[in-house]
Symmetry: D2
Subunit: 361 residues, 4 copies
């Protein structure tokens, strides 16, 4: 119980259902003196927002966030920051038909069994709509990390179905609707999405999240390692089924002589580790990959049961992404930023001196 | 800071360095009335222990755990349980030579930078020796889960290098030194290890962890999802670089119609989800996979620097596993058990009634 | 940092400044299936609300709370509950004059020093206005405790200045504007308040909080004892300077033979302990007393300094209670209820069986 | 459950029963680079130790603490510190007679009801013996606070029974067996103890704890206020029934014009607040008072029941202090030090810059 909070020193707590009155969030522990306005969060909220391109669900939500506290005369005060986004486009009628159905691949059944009651409208609390507040909170972390430490947290789509990118050009990421860093793959992604829409089906995706300029020393062994906490925050995103740090599962076939990153007076010669050694940031780029499952909200008929345990068939009509992974790009950035922010503050408390300037070799 | 604790209601806190006087652990929140003796922990400690087979490091440690508190007349009392394992085979001299070296792929550099001081003897706190206490604490969780709920937590080696298992026969797992469930692959693993020893090199591995009879309802959305907390606990194991739940990264190429697990009055028809939907256990087997990197402690010379920043070469002689993944099997079981135990207690607090008997369809 | 949350399993996180847009709260961990509407909270909010009697500040706030999530079709769903109260009567102009003054006895100076920036309007986050959300959250806890366990949490004013009550008649508490359980003292309190208003001064108060029907077994030794957590939650209320459990400071002059509560087959013969032994509830009434300091917002001139460190004089005009202790009665009830609720859920997790029915002698 | 940990960033977790094999503690979050040896803890352990004077219990325990981890070459490394004290003088036979008795005023009954099982030997976990580890952990905090910030945490006995001190001379505190700062009262205390021994009875006590040189800014409103956390840590000490900050319960009869501490360019003119305003340290001395109940372990016969619910009489023979308050002096210092240390680290994380030097007016 009480699982709606993440972070210890930069602590984010959220509430809100897909079709409730509003989504909300409390950011506790944000350092004082950070210039902050709604606009700082709106950009990422718009990147996540549905209905922004023909590739994502057509639900229309302005997703306008309001700062209710913690900011005075344009600066954070160090007190808790209250954020609110009102749900304007609710359309509960869309969902009444699945009131007594457990949609396969969804949380309907588990919520029903765990709580004995559930808000069936659009998945209620289990809807990805909840991630809007993660993005808002993450934007605050991203701004602080960038301004105070020059840390940049970015992500991109590295694979959808069997289409993989071949190169990473950060300038391309915001140039297309897929957050794809490889201009040559945009058409292939486009084609795949069209086919899926025709088939009424969906597909999985792989994202890559990267943080630059991370100081050495973040992470608290042996349990709150930076990689362990990153795994927690990324795996907490809806639909994520796998998390990798650095080379991830490729290490299974690697030899020690190949995997370990050599060090020189000029720095590391490679980054198989993904910027983390012994659970502590090494000063290299932090690199993580996540796998997102294909959404189960498709028009292909699915076999399931009712809450009375009778056989039933499900066809999910309405507004749904063929690939939920696309819109997860800003969410993944947000979660990594929140975790880095939390560890930055945790580390400073114990080692205030050590971090006065970023340690160098 | 303060990162040596895992769990909220079943809380495990550990201490101890590779070559310190002892390793210790406090288990807080264990329910009262559980019959418990050292023997309950010793079996798993022996499975993890070095020097048990020709495939693992020859360091000889009896790893005898002592219960110092929390147990009275053979039963847990509900108070904190203190556990201790004395280090008997320390051989500090082995390590003095790397006092000023940052071994590539190890935590030497990051600990040095984070804390400004480090216990260089055998990696100090960053040594896998620390995992002995995880196994001891995990054994307590495993016993409770088994006795009270019939939950069984087991793991096996599913891949080493490019050698993959083809079938899973649980009876085989304890019959060979690799925790390999496929008798036909034992020779291949054996051969691979011999070659690596000859080459003085190491290799990565992939493990699979499974929990049976898990009740529906464990996991606390939206951040403390069961899968997110499992990712945290498994990624906190030394050398782990990737975690998958269910189909993991395979979902990237799956379609929704293929991935979602159909439900029938008799139960689920498949388990692509790995037993977790919306962050809550579904009553199916919980299945997770982890990737462990090859150890960097090899005799192949490595390029690195000294703490003074000068170029240096490292050759790690002494007692080291060519594949640290093998001994990680009981550790992975322990971490999954600890996380399930924690969530079982957390869930019971909020939903005492709901869990009186395991919900069925 | 990150200090705006209380409780572990029944977790309350708040935000909001005296003159910000709104106050808010997230209740995480409330069990599902509890019937809940705004009306359940409004009663206590009205008891706390300013402007309700001639004895309390005349600031006019409807203090209407809105449930934004966590409740579906009139019942809690087990997900996080978002609550909001908009600030309607802000009057920032009242406060601009003290923008650069550190009002003696207030948090102006400490907030300024801690954060380097502060919302000076009405004390910002340090204003007692924040307690409205505590009362709203406490009302949820009170309802659950009452319905599920028959636990009743109530409080009264036991002393103001040198006027002490002689008897406790619970029926009287809601019959007068002082929450006074002794009808014979109402006039004396009335007179005292009139005099203070004439003098432009304020006075301290002592409150008593009592919980009936508390089951045996709540509290987690050795640090999270029930009494220790009650001390934390009650001391966290603005202006509280002292907390007593049972006989409190009277024990200093008591002998062991007098203090210890004798037990008989019919139960305890006295309750010097205040319902807690060894940090665990004994099944008797839980009794606590708190001391609230006199507000520093008075028209008697006060000596202080400016944020530039220059001498200055302060006279606080405007809407202020001569005795803030009066309105603290529902706040004290709320904090005790939140702490009992948290411990009830914590205890159930570990001892699900034990608490099936309240243990009896 | 899981209540044996205190602190968030400087986190202390303990285990151990009165007559178990050993007491232990893990300190997590201690900054690296602090010179630390057993001797640093032994002094306070000896001050707390029984059998040191004719006024305290004659149980003879060397209470020798051993550092098992977290310290390398005489300095803390930033990793978790394991501490151990073996129980050498156990005498279980003393207690077998009360195996089935619920001693009035003790935790026997509540532990029995909460857990369904209890270690009856000397109170098991509920024995004050547990506080030895608090003192050891507190000594580490005291040393850090002193060395790094010049903060001094000290306590004294201010009242026993009806004997109150009239003046505070810190030099006297360690000159007598009562930690009494008023030399003129030592005889009166001595006489009172003799009388109690003759009567086979016990008495309560009041202690005062003071911290000097505390920087401005410690404390995290609104719930983790410094005063709220101090109340928690002091109330968690065995036998404590009341906690006051500054003027404490005297504020009930004070007027605002009298209570509020005037500020001048030279600093505050008084300290009614006890060094905390709005839950944040003001830079003045932090002053707290606690009330300790008289021990119930006396030879005066007491009325009680057996675990079968039958009437019984209890006479507690053996080794017991007529006034447990005396030995609580070092314990109170330890708890205040632990809480200040925790808040110092918490504050530094969020406001690293602000605390570079102690803020002055």
């Amino acid at each position: 119980m009480a699982g709606n909070t993440i972070g210890q020193q930069f602590r984010v707590t959220t509430f809100g259902e897909s079709h409730g009155l509003a989504l909300g969030c409390i950011i506790d522990g944000c350092p004082p003196g950070l210039a902050l306005t709604e606009a700082d969060m709106q950009h990422d909220l718009d990147r996540r927002r549905p209905g922004t391109s023909k590739y994502t669900t057509q639900r229309r939500e302005p997703d306008e966030v309001k700062i209710l506290s913690g900011v005075f005369e344009g600066q954070t005060t160090g007190t808790s920051i209250g954020l609110l986004i009102e749900n304007t486009d609710q359309r509960s009628k869309d969902y009444s038909n699945i009131k007594d159905l457990f949609r396969p691949g969804h949380a309907d059944y588990t919520y029903h069994q765990k709580y004995g009651i559930r808000d069936y409208r659009g998945g209620g609390r289990s809807s990805a709509r909840e991630t809007a507040m993660r993005v808002a909170a993450g934007a605050v972390a991203k701004k602080y990390l960038k301004q105070v430490h020059g840390i940049e947290v970015r992500a991109y789509l590295s694979q959808m179905g069997d289409v993989k990118i071949d190169k990473v050009d950060w300038d391309q990421v915001e140039q297309n609707a897929f957050f794809c860093p490889d201009a040559d793959k945009v058409d292939a992604f486009d084609e795949l999405i069209r086919k899926l829409k025709k088939d009424g089906d969906s597909i999985g995706a792989k994202l890559t999240v990267v943080a630059n300029n991370v100081p050495v020393g973040l992470g608290e062994p042996v349990f709150d390692r930076l990689d362990a906490d990153i795994a927690h925050s990324l795996m907490s995103i809806n639909a994520v089924k796998g998390v990798e740090i650095g080379d991830g599962f490729d290490v299974v076939e690697q030899r020690g002589s190949e995997h370990r990153d050599a060090m020189t007076p000029e720095g590391f010669k490679s980054n198989h580790a993904g910027g983390i050694l012994g659970g502590i940031s090494s000063g290299q780029d932090i690199v993580a990959h996540i796998a997102l499952k294909p959404t189960s909200s498709i028009t292909v008929p699915g076999e399931t049961i009712t809450s009375q345990g009778e056989t039933a068939e499900v066809i999910t009509k309405g507004r749904h992404d063929p690939c939920v992974g696309i819109r997860a790009v800003p969410i993944a950035e947000a979660m990594l930023a929140i975790t880095l922010m939390d560890h930055l503050l945790r580390h400073r408390g114990q080692n205030a001196d050590v971090l006065t300037e970023t340690p160098k070799i």
